[in-house]
């Protein structure tokens, strides 16, 4: 120790050294002049989610999202809102019609990315999202959300390469599997892989499109949706893409009207759905065991998959991705009960 004031003096030496150091030592002056200078963000850096599509020529058709709503369910702050696209008959298409992310609510946790079975949603690293408004300006809709796979490869090369490799491997596997399974008539017509191009949107223009009553919408949303769909259909925006893309099946075999399946609601729990389907034939029970997202992760919609299993056309019971093991186990159990396994 020494005299009183020594510590004070030493402190002043430290600050003086920092004062001088800040002019010469980059280690000491960590500040950057933001708008002119930017720090390179690390590859892992995440801000808000975006949706990946594969082909620049047709982002909507080539988007990977199948509107399975897993992210919507899992999102902790519930900032995602998805409406599945449907054709004029109310048959679900494999893509979202509405995909909104409220970035004022989103907390950038990337749980949606982790739970997505299709690698369709990824995290962006653009942090400059300030807007002049508090409300609609902060909701991102499908057009803003869609980003190309190239973009994804650009911002996160390592991760995107791995994802691409995985998708390719999956597609090949699916293709291999589909080939031997092509014998039964019912499956042959079904789409082969989730990565394959999606069915084209609505074909013939119709005057009025009614949203089925059991669709998971509030009356208001339903009203709006049907109005919107009608106008879209009437104005003939969609039909251009009506020509079938290679591999696109004709309408699925089960053309039963999309209705009268009270359990067809992803919001219900498994038990509740099975209860609703208690007195129905085995196909309906099987259907009720599924996740009801019509996500086509299995290659069918829920109805189709159930019918396929019931008829024996499909033997793999673990294809329902959104339902995961819960559905798989239940399917197994139901099949056992029905004595088909």
């Amino acid at each position: 120790m020494g005299f009183i004031g020594k510590g004070l003096f030493e402190g002043m030496v430290v600050t003086a050294r920092n004062f001088v150091g800040s002019y010469f030592d980059k280690e000491r002056l960590v500040t950057v002049q933001y708008p002119e200078e930017r720090v390179q963000v690390p590859e892992n850096s995440r801000t808000f989610p975006f949706l990946v599509f594969d082909k620049d020529s047709d982002p909507v058709a080539s988007m990977r999202c199948v509107a399975c709503k897993i992210c919507e369910v899992e999102c902790p702050p519930q900032c995602i809102y998805i409406v599945m696209d449907r054709d004029e008959k109310g048959k679900p298409q494999q893509r979202p019609k509405v995909f909104d992310i409220d970035i004022s609510v989103c907390m950038q946790c990337q749980i949606c990315v982790e739970v997505c079975p299709f690698d369709a949603i990824k995290m962006d690293n653009n942090y400059e999202k300030s807007q002049y408004g508090r409300f609609d300006e902060l909701v991102e809709h499908l057009p803003e959300l869609l980003k190309s796979n190239e973009f994804y490869n650009k911002i996160k090369p390592t991760e995107a390469t791995a994802v691409d490799a995985k998708l390719k491997a999956d597609a090949e596997k699916k293709a291999k599997k589909a080939a031997p399974a092509a014998k039964p008539a019912a499956t042959a017509a079904k789409p082969a892989a989730p990565a394959a191009p999606k069915p084209a949107p609505v074909a013939a223009p119709t005057a009025k499109i009614a949203i089925p009553d059991d669709a998971p919408f509030t009356p208001e949303q339903r009203q709006w949706l049907s109005g919107y769909l009608s106008t879209v259909a009437a104005s003939g925006v969609a039909p251009a893409a009506a020509a079938p893309v290679a591999g696109t099946p004709a309408a699925p075999a089960t053309e039963a009207p999309a209705g009268n399946w009270p359990w067809h609601d992803p919001g219900l729990g498994m038990q509740r759905r099975l209860d609703l389907a208690k007195e129905t034939p085995i196909a309906d029970k099987l259907m009720a065991a599924m996740a009801q997202t019509d996500c086509h992760a299995c290659g069918y919609d829920c109805r189709g998959y159930a019918d396929a299993i019931a008829t024996g056309a499909e033997t793999d019971l673990s294809l329902c991705l959104p339902g995961e093991a819960e559905t798989a186990n239940m399917l197994k159990k139901l099949m056992q009960e029905a004595g088909k396994l």
Binding site: F3, L8, G11, N18, F19, G21, S22, R28, T31, Q33
Partner: protein
Amino acid sequence: MDQVYKVAPQLLKFLSYLLGWLPWIGKPVAGFLSNPPAWFLLAVAIAIPILFVVSVFPGIFAYTTLVERKALGRIQNRIGPNRVGRWGLLQPIADGVKLLTKEDIVPRSADKFVHFLAPVIAVIPSVLLFSVVPVGAGLVPVDLNIGILFAFAISTASVLALFMGGWASRNKFSLLGAMRAVAQVVSYEVPMVLAAVAVVMAAGSLSTLAIAKAQGGGILNVTHWFVFRPWGFVGFILFTIGAMAESARTPFDIPEAESEIIAGYHTEYSGFKFALFQLGEYLASIAMAGITVTMFLGGYNGPGSGPGILGGLISMFWFFAKLGGMIVLTIWIRGTWPRVRVDQLMSFAWKVLLPMSIVNIVAVGMWHYIAIRPIAWVVTTLWLVLWFITLSKLAASENIEKREYRYAS
């Protein structure tokens, strides 16, 4: 003022020469200026120092804030203001415009008149202080023969503004700030005045100009500065501490301690009234630095300073350079030290500073009566060092202990 009075006719003649070219009014004005009546000369002689004080020192204030922000930034490894103009040079102007255009908020329950008066009163004493600060050889706005005393008298008046602001705001934090300010300023006045007494004894005059003059000569006009005497060095430190406390600078900024009582007495001020408070505070701080320079750091004396135009300019340079040095010192301290507590502040003033300043006066006496310089050096130094050690031990024993730490087995 006397000096200005002497040069005023020349100045006016020069001005008349310049204005003579103007059409219409040029001739009569030039005639008037080249041969001015006595009252006009007097008015000019009064006006010039006033204009000088009112224009130069607020300018220094404005750029002090910029330098402070820049320096604090660099001390804290930041860049500091750099958006308005190159190196942020226009920042003070932007600040001024911002403060001028801000809404002036007066609390509903405030004492409106006193609330309004306080910032005004805050500025007046601070400006008046500059009237006795010699800025160059023989250049002092008013050479009062009680210059130092005048400065102290005026600076105490500034506490009134703090009190009025704090009391009229009807805010508890303001009131606490005002109470702290009053207690602090009143107690630090004492050691400060006593530290100045030492200088006055040595210089034999209360006039600031005379004190500055007394420190001239020696090698390069430097060696006779009072700070290079044992008593002067101690006095310098005492006075600097006192001045910092008086103008509420860190580490004595407890009247406006932002982490404790928001902003103290000016919590409820906004816009230009707030700016006036800041102006008054900074001006007082700068003026106190100027007086410190005058009393201890040789004032305007420095290599090359002296009478005449060139010497005068050099002396002004030295004065402002030293003033800048003092300002930088306060900024540096502000960037380094924590704030003391209000009771520690008081006990420091009364238990350390006051005895030390009295001891210092005795040291000046010794210096005066011991004719042989080397002996005087040794004796006064010993005397001061002994007292310093004793007092610091006493002060430290109250608050500070050395600790050892153990580890769990």
